[in-house]
Symmetry: C2
């Protein structure tokens, strides 16, 4: 493990770390973390045996697709910015990426999604039964390295990491339950506060809060430092998800890797769509809600009429007429600005390093990225 200490992560060839990485350096940082984490995930899976082709190879499918691997990078960067070492945090970071990909598989089933990272979703390739089981398998497999963590970081910290993972899983499921309940009951009379509570739990918690909290635990951070970083992570996570919803409607297909306008086809509850519905006339709102109650045409087991391209064009027109994309961009920027201020509160505990500069860069990335 010692060799990993000397990887480019440490200084990216710079003598004095900048306050904030530029886009190129940030992409390099993400790439380096991703390579380390993928190797760790491969090491966690059985290399041979009768279950490899029917189970373990499928667990690698999503992780090996093109992805940012933002979550493990946040975990590693937080730990190292606080003076912790790569070799004690890498396993926890890999577990987070495994959890993330398990959630993605089950989310794709639950949302009836077609594409993930530029390729068909796992349940489109192998059917819902195998996809659900592979996701369960990844959740099961993620437990073992967290137990083995005791040898790496001691009993006390290993248990605290497990506590955060248990809470993360609960928060994600509660957030997902909120949205599934809205879908089931056709609830669209929702404000930004409803939306923020849902994505904070469903998305921000496991994308930002848990990775940074775990990174901080591993680095022996104290309670005030963790409190500041948790606040930063929660605020930035909300900004991230709002911008992600914007990208779903505006990004270039190749860079984004998901189906453009997929959120409209799936009828997802985004801040954008909720804004457009609030701004629409009663007649338009009624028509939009009827459209949103229809399944996408390729959904398995769809009952009743399904959405048409004209339906989706209508939803898009409401969004464009209400200026909902600009509204959401502004919302995302305001949450990111709050996050930027929160990060400053954690600075007393952070050593000047490329890792802290990465965290600072993530704030800009969240609202400026086109991928």
């Amino acid at each position: 493990m010692g060799a990993t200490q000397d990887l480019p992560l440490d200084d990216l060839g710079m003598r004095r770390p900048p306050d904030r990485l530029d886009a190129v350096a940030m992409a390099a940082y993400l790439r380096d973390c991703r390579a380390l984490v993928l190797q760790e995930i491969v090491d966690l899976l059985p290399k041979q045996g009768p279950y490899r082709t029917v189970l373990y190879d499928l667990m690698l499918d999503y992780p090996l697709r093109q992805a940012k691997a933002l979550r493990p990078a946040l975990c590693i960067a937080t730990c190292r910015a606080l003076g912790g070492h790569l070799d004690v945090v890498l396993r926890s970071a890999a577990v987070l990426e495994l959890y993330h990909n398990a959630f993605l598989i089950h989310d794709d089933v639950e949302d009836g999604s077609e594409q993930r990272r530029d390729r068909p979703t796992l349940h489109r390739q192998h059917g819902v039964p195998i996809a659900v089981n592979v996701g369960d398998g990844m959740l099961a497999l993620a437990l073992q390295p967290l137990l083995d963590n005791t040898r790496l970081i001691g009993l006390g910290r290993a248990l605290r990491v497990l506590q955060v993972v248990a809470r993360m899983a609960r928060e994600s499921v509660e957030g997902q339950a909120i949205e599934l309940d809205w879908i089931r009951h056709g609830r669209w009379d929702l404000g930004d506060a409803h939306y923020v509570r849902m994505v904070y739990k469903k998305s921000a918690w496991y994308t930002f809060v848990a990775p940074m909290w775990i990174g901080a635990i591993v680095a022996h951070a104290g309670a005030p430092c963790i409190a500041a970083l948790r606040r930063f992570a929660g605020l930035l996570g909300v900004a991230f998800q709002i911008h992600d919803d914007v990208l779903n409607l505006t990004a270039e297909r190749e860079r984004y890797g998901k189906e453009i306008e997929g959120d409209l086809w799936e009828g997802k509850h985004t801040a954008i769509l909720l804004h457009a519905l609030r701004a629409a006339s009663a007649a338009d709102r009624g028509r939009a809600i009827r459209i949103l109650g229809r399944a996408r045409p390729d959904a398995g087991g769809a009952v009743g009429p399904t959405k048409t391209p004209a339906d989706v064009r209508f939803l898009r027109r409401l969004i464009d007429e209400a200026g909902s994309l600009d509204y959401a961009r502004g919302l995302s920027r305001r949450w990111a600005a709050k996050a930027r201020r929160a990060l400053r509160l954690a600075e007393p505990w952070m050593h000047p390093s490329v890792h802290g500069a990465f965290l600072a860069a993530v704030v800009e990335f969240v609202t400026d990225r086109d991928w």
Copy 2:
């Protein structure tokens, strides 16, 4: 918790425990354990808050349906037969029941099952998305009490229990992966050894091996005692599943609680069906395999022709002509006899008690029951 020590569990009113409980006493033992475990599960769930109706109430749906609750009873009986106390094992037993019900929800989705415990399956009532999420939520929630276990049984034993749970989850998923792979590739050229390996992992591990192993850990059992009990549990678990498959074709609807012949409609790989296929003529085998490749008519998203009542009658006729039910009954009895011998190896560590008498009774129950 002290009061639970005085419950009928302790002696069922008998002065000297018998070697083996009779059917009435065994049913009472199961009922007592179930009541305790259900209360513990209710205590684990948030009693109020915004997620109760959309998530936590749904987690109680399957556990509150009529069920034997065999798994927690095995865990409790093992612990107490070895001299452990009820109040230190109850939480782990409740977690096992929670895991079991989470697996059932996902299994029902994966198998496209219609009925569970005499009522529609969760995904038939609430849709696949909510069912998958509720199962994930139960897996997430099960982690916390296992972490809190450290206060109840100390760090060392709590971690060993977690290790067994992690292994249990992996074994179940691997077993499920084997069967899903057989289904996907229409594999029916399988012998008893293939079947046994699959159900040992998919069913025996989490029904018998993990509950008894965990009960033994909590009771401070040593390695030789645990080895004997693991052997007993694995053998009995296989016997149990074979007999369960027999019941699926022979039980009375009301006592069984699942759809009779549901395994044929779903095309499950049972020892019975595999035997019938091996015994059939080449022409009949070919026709049966074509039938088994068809979905059940009510399966969501079914493509191509679906099974008809005549199809299922044909499968049933092959089974009856080959004497496959008697073959499976004999197989189940042989595995149970091996289990009976293995239990004797654990006797040196077991105090004479109603709990040991329950374990002895389970052996007979496994192959004689009609529910």
